[in-house]
Symmetry: C2
Subunit: 186 residues, 2 copies
DNA sequence: TAAAGCATGTAACCGGTTACATGATTAA
DNA sequence: TTAATCATGTAACCGGTTACATGCTTTA
């Protein structure tokens, strides 16, 4: 499997952490990986099919009383091998996050100062919300899943989100100040 | 124009900062916006055409001696209005940067510790490189373009990159330490 | 003489989102 | 009775990348 099928590797990885249905994998990603990964059902179900085609996963059909039928996927040994191969490949390039606020800011000379400051304040609020969400997830993991073998790695990724979000929050405060001291022109 | 045509707004914005050809806009983006925006010619030329169709830009053909012909685009007053309307729309949601390293880290229990640490070291190096690049661009703007009316806004966006990259670098150092103190299991 | 820079463009492809479709159970 | 949760899937669409095509000039 080529290096670029991130979606397939993400699902392959989730199979090793105890998530076995497309539905539960989506939930896991939305809940605990959402600071650095997201995914839609439109990707998940075709991707799972491809994993089976490649022999990296196997399906077990389970019919439940009063619930829709389940397709439970399990990683095969060749799937595990493929995952390990991918894990050790060094990351080739840093992500470039497209940032709408920064794009707007870049052209904000075209706009009056109060409107620009308002923009930053709204962004600031959203960052605080995000920070609290991450903290909440971290506390929950420490309380409820600290015994889970993957937990230390989950915490590490959350700390990345907490650190960079914190830095962004500080930047908001500093930037508001900079803008206030910037003389406007017509 | 809908809120989502970021590419078109980015180009519209660049028209106000003194970049008028597809080629020079691409250069500007690669050189000074690349920490939060990137673009390919495959997007630029069709998008410029659309801006003209909408009446937001006008073309002036210039033939040069010994160089290919140029198409110079200029923003119209209705284009300026559309840009302003977009600038003041608050950012609806924070960007989720898909991060390959974090994805790998999330599943790194499947891998031995030294390999994981190596991954972080490589990422660390790339972050330092990026940090230095941003610092270089900032210094260059302060030295050579400090008179440019947009310069204060360029600096602000660079500071965002510097702050968050710095935070990521600190996280690398801390995480390496955490991993070293983490007892491995088989 | 080869590579890099200037300059514009298109077609094929690909990853991902959104909307749609289905259908049962349980909690408010 | 309505909404939410569980559960799986497809088709249309869209934004963006890559590869390809052209061609002249300047620098190494």
């Amino acid at each position: 499997m080529a290096q670029k099928n991130y979606t397939q590797y993400a699902l392959l990885g989730l199979l090793t952490t105890g998530y076995h249905t497309g539905y539960s994998m989506k939930q896991m990603i939305d809940g605990s990986l959402n600071h650095f990964w997201k995914i839609s059902y439109g990707q998940i179900y075709p991707a799972l099919k491809m994993l089976v085609d490649k022999g990296y996963a196997e399906v077990k059909y389970t019919s439940q009383q009063g619930r829709p039928d389940k397709k439970e996927y399990y990683i095969t040994s060749s799937g595990k091998e493929a995952l390990k191969q991918w894990l050790k490949q060094p990351v080739q390039e840093l992500p470039i996050e497209k940032n709408e606020l920064l794009l707007k800011l870049f052209f904000s000379r075209q706009q009056d100062k109060p409107t620009t400051i308002k923009q930053i304040e709204i962004y600031h609020e959203k960052l605080l919300e995000r920070y609290n969400t991450y903290e909440g997830i971290k506390k929950m993991i420490l309380l409820e899943s600290s015994e889970h073998k993957d937990a230390p790695f989950w915490i590490i990724t959350l700390d990345y989100g907490l650190s960079t979000t914190h830095a962004a929050i500080d930047w908001c405060i500093k930037t508001k100040d900079t803008l206030l001291n910037l003389k406007e022109e017509e």
